[in-house]
Symmetry: C2
Subunit: 242 residues, 2 copies
DNA sequence: TGTCAATATATTTTCGAAAATCGGCAGAAT
DNA sequence: ATTCTGCCGATTTTCGAAAATATATTGACA
């Protein structure tokens, strides 16, 4: 595995951590598609490392819900489906709402400053890069994740933050899927700005409502593009007969 | 690893799954104490298996928050602290409350039946077994977990259920800690019955309030016994000098 | 005596190969 | 034709040993 430097300059010290990070990115951005089988041998080639760190990384991702393990039958990327997405969204609305409410209650000046900074960075990024097809813009993803994290950063609960981040990652995967499906990305920049304003003015009710709408609108858009790209068709060997 | 048959008669097919299950139990019941180092070599002896399945199981538990990994320095059981417990409780009140509300909304006859059955089984168990010291009663733990699971089983969200179960497991560990610390276990049987009644009569508000109190009271009890047993004192080799 | 560098030991991490398991295929039996 | 049985290749799972890393110990030097 080539040691890829991260944005913050840090390098993951162990191969396991590197594989975990990269695998997570590849799954969330749908470089590895939903339901795709994850053979250890293929991944060994892909990342140029041994089997152990790969399996260990996969186990972590399994616990996070991004990967599925069928015992003695191997790993695959978690399937994407309308039902799964709906469930995810329902839960996310509650969790993000709760975290936001708490954050607005408890946030201090530092929280406000970081939120402003995060929004500023996000507003200078586009969702897709025009260059090679409509590919997902990793930097936008990062800044978007950062912004939502900043919104809820002052909620005062490690547990709630962890849950929120996990659900967020799963939702990101659906957004990536939608972008890949050539769905022209909607502009939600103003929504982010409104949320930020409501948060900074300590209008919790409005902020939560905006967040709910924000998630709902994203969801609507994604649901439309789901039927096509969600489930790779299962292929059966045809014995060469037509 | 000896193939231990489970309560439902199923046997985990892979060594990894067995180690995972057993390790999880040992941590939740404080057979492995908070903050205790988890050396691969020791665990290899303890469970009589190779290193790979152990590391893989530990990675899963790390993602669940029951185990901590410091890169290149190994695993340890997650430390237990008053702050951690308080955070956990705050979050759990919200999650359990939400799941319970949804469950009461959507639950059908099957849900009611299972809930009744689960309560009946729980009410026939004691928290501790008198035999060898005040040890945790694994069966009570199982039935207690089952009961709370049954309460929220109809919430209609896999994600919310998963989150709830995870938080519940972490809370169980604190209860076990409290029991081990010779804290005479409180009788919360009637609380369970009241919750069940409120749920069955579709009184969501009351049920959630009871749940909140239930969690709060357990928490109070546990907090008291924390100072003593929470953090094993870090020992430094003394060079043989007194 | 105390501090620092160098060495030795313990532990984690990783690899490569052996063992176990699954799914498919061929051939026998009904 | 259909079901069953046993074999074969592909894949997962597990082990044991090698490489990498952290921790402890020793000894030199101020």
């Amino acid at each position: 595995m080539t040691f890829v430097q991260q944005h913050d300059g840090a390098i993951e010290p162990t191969v396991n951590a590197q594989v975990f990070r990269q695998l997570r990115i590849d799954i969330v951005t749908c470089g590895l598609m939903p339901n795709e089988r994850l053979r250890v041998e293929s991944l060994r080639e892909r990342y140029g490392v041994g089997g152990s760190p790969i399996r260990e990384a996969l186990m972590r991702l399994e616990a996070e819900g991004l990967v599925i393990l069928e015992q003695n039958k191997g790993f695959r990327v978690s399937p994407a489906s309308r039902e799964h997405l709906l469930d995810l969204m329902k839960t996310r609305v509650e969790i993000e709402g709760l975290a936001l409410r708490w954050s607005i209650e408890k946030g201090g000046v530092d929280w406000e400053a970081n939120l402003l900074a995060a929004y500023h960075r996000l507003s200078h990024q586009k969702k897709t890069v025009r260059g090679s097809g409509n590919e997902v813009n990793l930097v936008w993803f990062k800044e978007h994740r950062n912004f939502h994290s900043a919104l809820t950063a002052a909620c005062g609960s490690q547990h709630l933050m962890g849950i929120r981040e996990n659900l967020f990652a799963q939702a990101e995967r659906y957004v990536a899927l939608s972008i890949i499906s050539k769905c022209p990305p909607r502009n939600d920049d103003s929504e982010h700005e409104q949320m930020m304003r409501a948060a900074l003015t300590r209008n919790a009710g409005r902020a939560v409502q905006l967040m709910t709408d924000h998630i709902g609108r994203t969801n609507e858009r994604v649901v439309k593009t789901l039927g096509a790209a969600a489930q790779p068709i299962k292929l059966r060997r045809m014995n060469g007969k037509p």
